[in-house]
């Protein structure tokens, strides 16, 4: 798997995702600067990392979503290349229009930083094939703007089409229907607020996130 990690000014989980990808795939991902306009030849997986791109100016992810590399990212996903956006990466995806809805300030206004239990709602996707449907996993969250909102029709459509990939078991940030992660209609783009890349080796205290990357590797390879 030839993966690319997009790096924005203010990204801070780019190294975490790179290490996770290298551990699972055995291959170092290309680190692609936001000002680049092309992805490396043969890129077959793209990650938008967590962090605080552009200091969350205007709206979280708003600036990054309009940066030069994003056209190449959009073109690649339109060709079916899988893309994961984690935390700030999820915010960038909604701002870029690659996923519906928006991520707003947490309902409790506090920055939330702790491990949270999640239900795997759909184990048929490229990203979740190594999990069982209904299984509970624990990923850490670390965000201020993770309150997922969309209109009722969009929420109903996400539910009906099996595009809610992960759901919080408990109330975390006010998200509509406790949505933690969603897929696009083609199923090759996943955005989620919790951090699977932070639970991939025993020293992290859990390896619940590792199977996401293992499942993906199996799907892509």
């Amino acid at each position: 798997m030839k993966s690319a990690v997009i790096v924005f000014p203010g990204s801070n989980c780019d190294r975490d995702i790179a290490v996770a990808l290298e551990q699972v795939t055995g291959r170092k991902p290309a680190m692609v600067w936001h000002k680049d306009t092309e992805l490396p030849e043969g890129t077959d997986f793209i990650a938008l990392p967590g962090g605080f791109s552009y200091g969350d100016y205007l709206r979280s992810g708003a600036m990054a979503a309009r940066s030069p590399i994003m056209q190449a990212v959009k073109d690649a996903t339109a060709r079916g290349v899988p893309l994961i956006g984690i935390c700030n990466g999820f915010q960038v995806l909604t701002e870029a229009g690659l996923l519906p809805g928006a991520l707003m300030r947490n309902a409790g206004l506090s920055f939330v930083c702790r491990p949270v239990p999640l239900k795997v709602e759909n184990s048929q996707s490229l990203f979740t094939s190594a999990y069982d449907s209904g299984e509970t996993v624990v990923f850490p969250v670390a965000h201020h703007d993770g309150n997922y909102q969309a209109d009722q029709d969009t929420l109903d459509r996400l539910e009906d089409e099996g595009r809610v990939a992960f759901r919080y078991l408990d109330e975390v940030n006010g998200s509509a229907r406790r949505i933690a992660g969603i897929l696009n209609d083609a199923g090759n783009v996943l955005g989620l607020m919790p951090h699977p890349e932070r639970v991939v080796e025993p020293a992290h205290g859990s390896i619940d996130g590792r199977r996401l990357f293992e499942g993906l590797l199996e799907s892509v390879a």
Partner: protein
Amino acid sequence: MKARVFVTLKPGVLDPQGKAIHHALEGLGFSGVNDVRAGKLIELDLADGIVDSDIEDMCRKLLANTVIENFRIERLENA
């Protein structure tokens, strides 16, 4: 020429910041505030020849997230 863009949350969209401001006002003893909604004011200093539709384009493409926000443009002709 200057213009002001007011970006506000759409009606019905939960505004946690507005709620917190509301609570703080009540805590300070200001009664009679029914609701508070917080938004953004963006001031643009524009070259001659920029027309309303250009500013609307800026709003749709960047200044507002039209999934959750409305915008209103106010031109200040003599500024």
